[in-house]
C-alpha cells in the first residue's frame, strides 16, 4: 500500500508532559517513520477544536496537579463529548497516569473531596497518601496470544478500580499496579489503552508500540492492513537490560 499516513494527536503537550511522557509520542513516531509511514504529530491543547478525523492515535500523558487543574475544564467540558465519541467508535488512545485517571468517572482525594472526571471509561480512582514509586515489570498478552514482558516505572498515589466493561491492560509481575491489591495494571476499553507506567512506557516495549500502530492503521485502512516488518533490536536490548538491572 502506498502513502500510508498516521496522525498522532498529542493532547495538552504543554501541560501533560511528566516523566518522559513525550517518549511515547517519539516511539510511535519513530517506529511508524522507520516503516516508511508518513507521520504527522498534531498538538491539541486548551482552546483548540478537536476534529476526530484528524487523529488516528490520541495520546494523553500525566501532569503535575497544578497543570492538571488548568486543563480540566477544557478536557471535561469542551473536548469531553468528542473524546467519548472517539473512544466509543474504537479510536486508539494511549493514556498515562493523570491522563488515565482523568478519563475515568471520578477521583476521590484522600481528604474526601470528589473530583468529577470525564467518564469516558468505567473506572474510578481513590487518592491515598502513600505513593507507589518504583520500577515495574508487567506481562501483556498480544492479539496472537503471545505473552511478553513489559518494563516501566510507576509513580502514583491514586488507586484505580475497574468497572465491568473495562478489562485490565496488563498483569503485574513487579510493582503495585492499579491499586496494589488485584495484581493488574492499567485498563483497556475498546482501543483505549491506559496505564500508570512511565519509563517512558513505549520506547522499551516495541511490542506495545506496534500493537497500537497496527490497531490504528487497521482502523484507518481496513482489517487487511499488515504492519510492515521492522526489527526491534535496540528496543529489545533496552528492555533486556532493564529487566536484568531490576532482577540483578
Amino acid at each position: 500500500m502506498d502513502n500510508v499516513s498516521l496522525n498522532i494527536g498529542h493532547f495538552y503537550p504543554d501541560l501533560l508532559n511528566l516523566y518522559g511522557d513525550r517518549g511515547n509520542v517519539l516511539a510511535l513516531y519513530t517506529r511508524a517513520k522507520r516503516r516508511g509511514i508518513d507521520v504527522n504529530i498534531r498538538e491539541i491543547t486548551i482552546g483548540d477544536t478537536l476534529d476526530p478525523s484528524s487523529v488516528d492515535i490520541a495520546f494523553l500523558g500525566g501532569g503535575q496537579d497544578n497543570e492538571q487543574n488548568i486543563l480540566k475544564d477544557d478536557l471535561v467540558r469542551s473536548k469531553g463529548p468528542v473524546i467519548k465519541e472517539m473512544i466509543e467508535s474504537g479510536k486508539v488512545f494511549l493514556c498515562i497516569c493523570g491522563g488515565y485517571q482523568m478519563l475515568g468517572r471520578y477521583y476521590l482525594e484522600h481528604n474526601g473531596n470528589r473530583l468529577e472526571c470525564l467518564g469516558a471509561i468505567d473506572i474510578y480512582t481513590e487518592g491515598k497518601k502513600e505513593r507507589f514509586i518504583q520500577d515495574t515489570i508487567y506481562e501483556i498478552e498480544l492479539s496472537d496470544g503471545k505473552k511478553v514482558k513489559v518494563a516501566g516505572f510507576e509513580n502514583h498515589s491514586g488507586r484505580t478500580y475497574l468497572g465491568d466493561t473495562v478489562k485490565p491492560f496488563m498483569k503485574v509481575i513487579r510493582g503495585a499496579g492499579n491499586n496494589g491489591e488485584d495484581g493488574y495494571e492499567g485498563a483497556r476499553y475498546k482501543n483505549c489503552f491506559c496505564t500508570y507506567s512511565h519509563g517512558s512506557f513505549l520506547p522499551k516495549n516495541a511490542a506495545v508500540t506496534d500493537l497500537l500502530l497496527k490497531t490504528a492503521l487497521r482502523n484507518k485502512y481496513g482489517e487487511d492492513y499488515e504492519l510492515p516488518y521492522l526489527s526491534s533490536e535496540a528496543e529489545d536490548l533496552a528492555l533486556r537490560q532493564a529487566l536484568e538491572y531490576l532482577n540483578g
Partner: protein
C-alpha cells in the same frame, strides 16, 4: 554549653574521618545538629553569608562568587564544597572551616532548595541568590510550584537582598511584595529579541517537555516577546500583566559566535555602566551564572562600603576557573582533553547537549546513566529532553555506559543515530570504554562525558586512580 559540645563533637568526627581518608563534608554537621538542633543559627550569627539556591547552576555560581571574592585584597571566603548542600553539610562548613581573623570573611553557601526553606531563617544571609527553577528528579523533589513555594517561605524568614532571575517566571515571582530588596538579573530583553530574530533556533520533531507554561495565578498561558532557552525569556501574563521584571544586571550578547567556545565575548549592563567580559566557563547557561555571580559580588562590595564595586566584580570574574565536574577540561596526552559535564535533570542535559553540539573541539560524546536514589530512580527524564534538534551536530563518535545503558542507548538511537555507530558497555567497563574513546579521539580534540550524579562519582573515583586526576574534596 550544648553548642560547645556540638562543636567539639563535629570537629572530632571530622578529624577521624580525615585520618580514614574520607571527605567528611556532611557527617560532622549531622552529629552537631543531633546534639544541638539550633547550632546553625548560633554559628551563623554575625557572619556575612551569601546563599545560592535554585535547580541548576548552584555549584557553578557559588564557585564563581567564591573565586571572585577570594581574589580581592582583604577578603577571604569559606564555602561548602562538592555538593554538601543540605543542613548537615552547611553545619559542617560553619563549624569546621577556619580562616585567619585578619581579613573580612564571607561565607558562600550553595543550598539545596528544600533545605533552604528549613534553614534560611537560621542562616539569615545578607544576600540570597536564586538561579532558576526547572523540573528536577520529580520522584525526589515533587512539584515545581511546591519547590518555588518552599524557597519563598525560606526567603520570608530572612532580610536578605535577593538576587533573582528575571527571565524565569517562577523565580521572578519571588520578588512580588519584596520589591524593596529584590535585584533582578538576566538577559537584556533587547539583546534576546535581537538574537531570536537574527538566529532562529532549529526545531526537532517534538518540542521538549516544558515547565511553567501557565501563570499560576490566572491559569492563562504566558506569552513571550523573546526567549533564551527552556522557559526562560521575556514573558508576560496577558491576564494579570505580571511580566519579566527590568534587570539591574543585564547580559548583552550576540549568538553570531557560540558561547560554547572559550573566550566568548559579552557585556553586562549595570544601570548604564556597560562592561565587556570574556566568558570563562563556557555555555549559554553560564551567561546567567556569570551575571548572577557578578550581581552578588557587586552587592556584597556595596554592603561592605567599597567603591567602584561593579568594575571590581567584573574584573574578578575573568579570573575564575571551573568547579569540580562542571565544565572542567582535563588535559591529557597528545593535546587531547577530557571534559566532564554533570547532568542531573532535563534542563541540564538539554544545555549540555546544546553545548557539545556547538563546541568546536568536541570529537567524542559519552553518556553515563545510573538510577540510584541520589540520581532519582526513574530514568524517564531522558525522554523529556530534545535530542532530535541537536543530533545532526553531535560528534561522530558516541559512547554509552552506566547501570542503565540500555535506556540511554535507545534514547540516542531514537534521536536518529544508528545503533551500530554507538559503542556501549555496562558500568563496570565504563573506564575501559572511556579510555577507548580517548585513544580514538583525534589529536587536539576533546572527549565530552555526560554522567548523572552517582555515575560521575563512580567514574571520578576510578579516574583518580587511572588517570591521576585530583581528588574532589581537596
Amino acid at each position: 554549653m550544648r553548642r560547645a559540645l556540638a562543636r567539639s563533637a563535629a570537629k572530632t568526627v571530622k578529624f577521624i574521618l580525615r585520618i580514614l581518608g574520607r571527605g567528611a563534608t556532611t557527617l560532622p554537621g549531622k552529629v552537631a545538629l543531633r546534639i544541638d538542633p539550633a547550632i546553625i543559627s548560633k554559628e551563623a550569627e554575625g557572619k556575612f553569608i551569601i546563599t545560592v539556591t535554585g535547580t541548576n547552576g548552584k555549584t557553578t555560581t557559588s564557585h564563581m562568587i567564591s573565586e571572585m571574592i577570594s581574589s580581592f585584597d582583604g577578603y577571604e571566603v569559606i564555602n561548602n564544597i562538592s555538593g554538601a548542600n543540605l543542613a548537615s553539610g552547611i553545619a559542617t562548613t560553619l563549624i569546621c572551616e577556619k580562616k585567619k581573623d585578619s581579613k573580612k570573611l564571607i561565607y558562600v553557601l550553595e543550598t539545596d532548595e528544600a533545605a533552604f526553606a528549613k534553614i534560611a531563617g537560621s542562616l539569615n544571609p545578607k544576600i540570597s541568590v536564586v538561579t532558576n527553577l526547572f523540573r528536577d528528579q520529580l520522584d525526589r523533589y515533587g512539584e515545581l510550584t511546591h519547590t518555588r513555594d518552599l524557597i519563598s517561605s525560606g526567603i520570608g524568614n530572612t532580610t536578605a537582598r535577593l538576587i533573582i532571575n528575571s527571565d524565569d517566571s517562577l523565580v521572578a515571582s519571588l520578588g512580588k511584595g519584596r520589591e524593596g530588596r529584590s535585584i533582578f538579573f538576566g538577559m537584556s530583553k533587547d539583546s534576546m529579541k535581537f538574537n531570536n530574530d537574527t538566529y532562529p533556533s532549529r526545531k526537532g520533531v517534538l518540542r521538549a517537555s516544558s515547565d511553567a507554561v501557565f501563570c499560576p495565578e490566572c491559569k492563562v498561558r504566558y506569552e513571550y516577546r523573546s526567549r533564551s532557552f527552556g522557559h526562560l525569556g521575556d514573558f508576560f501574563c496577558p491576564s494579570c500583566g505580571f511580566k519579566s521584571p527590568e534587570n539591574t544586571y543585564s547580559v548583552i550578547y550576540d549568538l553570531k559566535e557560540s558561547p560554547s567556545n572559550e573566550g566568548y565575548r559579552f557585556s553586562i549592563d549595570h544601570n548604564g555602566d556597560i562592561r565587556e567580559l570574556s566568558l570563562v566557563i563556557p555555555g549559554m547557561h553560564n551567561l546567567y551564572n556569570t551575571c548572577a555571580a557578578v550581581s552578588a559580588v557587586t552587592e556584597m562590595l556595596k554592603l561592605s562600603g567599597e567603591t567602584d564595586v561593579f568594575e571590581k566584580a567584573c574584573e574578578a570574574s575573568s579570573k575564575v576557573k571551573p568547579a569540580f565536574g562542571r565544565m572542567e577540561k582535563i588535559p591529557l596526552q597528545d593535546n587531547k582533553k577530557l571534559c566532564i559535564l554533570l547532568v542531573k535533570n532535563p534542563a541540564g542535559l538539554d544545555r549540555s547537549l546544546s553545548f557539545v553540539s556547538e563546541a568546536k573541539d568536541a570529537k567524542a560524546l559519552m553518556f553515563l546513566l545510573n538510577s540510584n536514589t541520589a540520581d532519582g530512580k526513574d530514568v524517564s527524564w531522558i525522554w523529556d529532553v530534545d535530542f532530535e534538534s541537536k543530533v545532526t551536530s553531535f560528534p561522530e563518535k558516541i559512547y554509552v555506559s552506566g547501570e542503565r545503558y540500555g535506556d540511554m542507548l535507545l534514547r540516542v538511537n531514537y534521536s536518529g543515530v544508528d545503533t551500530e555507530k554507538i559503542e556501549y558497555a555496562p558500568m563496570n567497563e565504563a573506564v575501559d570504554l572511556l579510555k577507548k574513546a580517548i585513544s580514538e579521539c583525534e589529536e587536539g580534540g576533546c572527549v565530552y562525558v555526560l554522567p548523572n550524579y552517582t555515575a560521575m562519582l563512580d567514574l571520578r573515583g576510578k579516574l583518580v586512580n587511572e588517570l591521576g586526576i585530583k581528588d574532589f574534596w581537596k
